[in-house]
């Protein structure tokens, strides 16, 4: 296997692990979103590596990267919307206190 592909896939695996740790361990909504961003970053690096080292002539691979970037933007927009509603209702975005997503 090419060392470049292996390095990229290992980077993706490490980012996925770090992101999963963050998403599970943090109690603040914004920090949880940061963990999810890192998980999606791990997916991004894998997709770019697969495109570059396996199928550089096939552009749906790059299209897939754009879709994951869209998912990142959507996650941020909806997450911050929920954060604002939560902060307005309870004065905090600590998820330990959130038993329900009712505003």
């Amino acid at each position: 296997m090419s060392p470049e592909l292996l390095l990229a896939l290992l980077t993706g695996a490490a980012l996925f692990g770090v992101g999963l740790y963050g998403a599970l361990s943090q109690t603040n909504l914004v920090m949880i979103m940061m963990g999810v961003e890192l998980i999606l970053a791990g997916a991004l690096v894998n997709l770019v590596a697969f495109w570059r080292f396996l199928h550089p002539e096939s552009y749906p691979g790059q299209m897939f990267v754009l879709i994951v970037m869209t998912v990142m933007a959507v996650e941020m927009a909806v997450g911050f919307g929920v954060a604002i509603a939560r902060f307005r209702a309870r004065g905090s975005v600590e998820m330990e206190e959130a038993r329900e997503l009712k505003g």
């Binding site: 770019v48 396996l54 550089p56 790059q62 754009l66 604002i84």
Partner: protein
């Protein structure tokens, strides 16, 4: 023989993971947001090293904006944004570490063990790539591309609807 591309991919990969770990190691929320910005920027530089020029520049530009907004929200919403009070904002730490390490090891194991097939020696030039991606977006993948656009628009409207305060009932009427 190790070439420059391998060195740059390794360097930016390590930098991305290093700053990614830094996000959860600092008590200051501002530093967390900046660490995530550097992690995502290193990833963009890694894309450039992998000859995906358009995606690399897009990643850097998009994440610079996104993380700046995130930093503002951190300061707005966190009880201790500077981390001066050394508040612990974590729970189930041991389980989370276990899950993170296990997920990383399993994914890395698949990356090492799997047979990925023939490796392409070169990628098309940057201009040819951008042109081909544009043709892909406005050709075969147009429906997917348009769906992504509508999804972002829906998310923007939904986020605004959730964030706007509910109108108070007028008790006089």
């Amino acid at each position: 023989m190790i070439d420059w591309q391998t060195i740059f991919i390794a360097f930016f990969g390590v930098a991305s993971v290093w700053f990614g770990v830094g996000v959860f190691r600092t008590a200051s929320m501002m530093r967390s947001a900046l660490a995530l910005l550097f992690s995502q920027t290193a990833l963009g530089a890694m894309f450039l090293a992998m000859q995906a020029e358009f995606l690399g520049v897009l990643q850097i530009m998009m994440m610079a904006t996104e993380m700046s907004i995130m930093a503002i929200f951190m300061v707005m919403f966190m009880m201790d944004p500077g981390g001066l009070g050394e508040m612990d904002m974590t729970h189930q730490k041991r389980l989370s570490i276990l899950a993170g390490v296990a997920a990383a090891l399993v994914t890395a194991g698949v990356a090492v063990v799997a047979e990925w097939g023939a490796i392409a020696a070169a990628a098309p030039a940057a201009a040819a790539q951008t042109e081909a991606l544009g043709r892909e977006l406005l050709g075969r993948s147009m429906l997917v591309f348009e769906t992504a656009g509508v999804t972002i628009l829906t998310a923007m409207i939904a986020a605004t609807a959730v964030a706007v305060p509910a109108p108070q009932r007028d008790r006089r009427s």
